[in-house]
Amino acid sequence: MRKVWLIVKREYLTRVKTKAFVISTLIVPVVGIGFVLLIAFLVSHAPQQNLRLVIVDEAGGLAAPVKQNLEATLANGKREFTVTDTVDRPVSPDAVELDLRNRINANALDAYLVISPELAQPVELHTKNPGNFTLLEPLTQALNEAVIGARLNARGIHLADVEEISRGVNLRVIKVSQSGESVEKGQTIAIAITLVVLLYTSLLMYGIITMRSVLEEKTTRTMEVLISSVRPFQLLAGKILGVAGAAFTQFFIWVISLGLFASYGAVMAALLNPSSSFPSMHVPLSLVIWVVCFFLGGYFLYSTMFAAIGSACSNEQDAHQLQWLAMTPLIFTMVIYSVILNDPTSTASVVLSEIPFFAPVLMPLRISLQMPPVPQIILSLVLLLGTILGTIWASAKVYRIGVLMYGKRPTLPELLRWLRYS
């Protein structure tokens, strides 16, 4: 046990002490938080777009409603436009426009609209800054409402009545679970897919890190020295636990910092914009516990497989060619997970989530969508545990032979033959 501990300690410390580890551990939350802060800053400090506008209404009767529509205050209490003046049916439009252009060039005005007598003609927006696309949408809307309102009025219909009559209905989805009901705004799917991607990428990433770490001893030829001090199984166990320690440290730091920031961000968002209804991403504790169980199981399953592959190869290139053995079942979970997303209770979903190589990703997905019967979860965990013991046994055999073999990359039949050696 002491030897395993020494290997774990060395593996952990040499990993955690590297610059790459420190930088990647810090950079992910820093960049993530920095990015969010930057967006928040840009949004809250966006220049006030209080555009000074003059409406030249050659058609007549439209300037007032357009002005009214444009000057409606936004939800955040700001105004996008200030209509400084309206010109109804000018006698000499050219003179008026010349004057307005001079005012724009003198920075006394930002833009003016010209509504032509024929409404079939486009309305013209004259501005110094035609690149400001964000203004076009509210302008068009204000114009349309005014024009449509005028046409409806001509037929004796009130715009408000039309809006009332044509208002659609909204569909509200409510998730029923044992902990009660919660309004569904897509967060169940969001959590489920985040979970799948997170589990898949971390299992793959840490598996490959373990594989590299085993390979390190072979490429640096440290193995023969180590093997005269420890048993191969102790080395294998030490490596997997050491990498796990480093991986979990990093993961923990990320989760904590992102969690802190998310709660801080939610508070900030609520302060900035009290009216926004942010869907509450409530994650039940039971889900967290099950996810941790399956993640640990998946971690040990896949990292032992990757470790065996690393031990069977002499260099990175060979390992890349053999790593599909462990990657295939993981990739398959990404191909198949939509089956469970569509119907977590179907026979296919139940069977898939019980298969040990898929369970680490697919069972947490099922749990997040709809709590399966607990015996099914337990069965899945038991099968997973059994498979882990099996892969540890097989990996230890491959490892014991592989760690000291140099040269040609073994073929799959050769690997299987190694399993039969004592």
Partner: protein
């Protein structure tokens, strides 16, 4: 008790015999030199003793127990392929490997300092392994093979890449270890080193054990068949029928005699030929000569 005993050990790779029916005993508390041309099977033999390779036939015992993962824990081993964690500090590597052998870390650290100083690596203790030269890395690895005072040390080519001063230090350390009761097995090509320090030798050629036993006894069994003569005057006596071969030297010659020939005949012939003899000595054959004779090549 024998530190190592091999009985009829055979190992082949893909039908090619690397080691064929080798028998060998290494007495406890002695230094054995494992000699042989390149590719003779020395490293394969060592790896089988380390239980890294498994023999196809025969049995290997270390301290009277069949080789296993356990027996190799009692062996200090310097493998042919050198390797240490390149990005670890020199002293941490040594302490780590010693701790794996069961030594308390504080004790390992204390000894690591002593050993590093002795092998003139004191200034490098805090450096990373990858910053060291090949020869220095080899010394670090030698330290980690012997630091925990194992009862048996197996060193594959311990002198390769070492300068004469360091080679002499390593040799002194091996002799000290033997005097303290450890058994040392080393493979090497350096005959002069073997002659200076080994108690016994094992000469392997093409996988076979062609000669083994006590070094002094082996040399004696070859008899004093070499004559070193220093002289002035005629050298016609060197074509005497008792002479097998002649090696001319600056002041005279070294003549190897035919089997059963009497050196006195040659001396008489030399005197009669009128040459003035200043030195006439009977020598044992050098290990180099024995090596060449036994293997047919250097």
């Amino acid at each position: 008790m024998d530190a190592i005993s091999l009985e009829n050990v055979t190992k082949s790779y893909d039908g090619v015999d690397a080691v064929r029916h080798v028998n060998l005993r290494v007495r406890q508390g002695t230094i054995l030199g494992l000699l042989g041309p390149n590719g003779a099977g020395k490293t394969s033999t060592i790896r089988m003793v380390m239980n890294i390779l498994v023999p196809d036939e025969g049995s290997i015992r270390v301290f009277d127990r069949p080789v296993s993962d356990e027996t190799r824990q009692s062996i200090g081993y310097l493998p042919e392929d050198r390797g240490l964690y390149p990005r670890m500090q020199v002293r941490s590597v040594i302490v780590f490997l010693a701790a794996l052998r069961g030594m308390p870390e504080a004790e390992a650290d204390r000894r690591a300092r002593q050993w590093l100083d002795r092998l003139e690596l004191g200034d490098w203790a805090q450096k990373k392994v990858e910053e060291l030269s090949k020869g220095m890395q080899q010394k670090v690895q030698f330290i980690s093979a012997v630091l925990h005072q194992p009862p048996l040390v197996i060193l594959d080519e311990p002198f390769s890449g070492l300068d004469p001063v360091n080679a002499a230090t390593v040799q002194d350390i091996m002799l000290e270890m033997r005097d303290q009761g450890s058994t040392v097995v080393l493979s090497t090509h350096r005959m002069e080193q073997v002659e200076k320090m080994c108690d016994s030798i094992c000469l392997i050629d093409k996988g076979r054990n062609v000669l083994d036993g006590d070094l002094r006894a082996i040399k004696q069994s070859y008899g004093k068949n070499t004559v070193q003569i220093e002289f002035t005057g005629s050298d016609s006596f060197l074509s005497h029928p008792a002479v097998a071969s002649v090696n001319r030297l600056g002041l005279g010659a070294e003549a190897k005699l035919k089997v059963g020939a009497d050196p006195q005949q040659l001396l008489r012939a030399a005197v009669e030929s009128g040459a003035e003899i200043t030195r006439f000595a009977l020598l044992e054959p050098s290990l180099n000569d024995i090596f060449i004779e036994k293997t047919g090549h250097a």
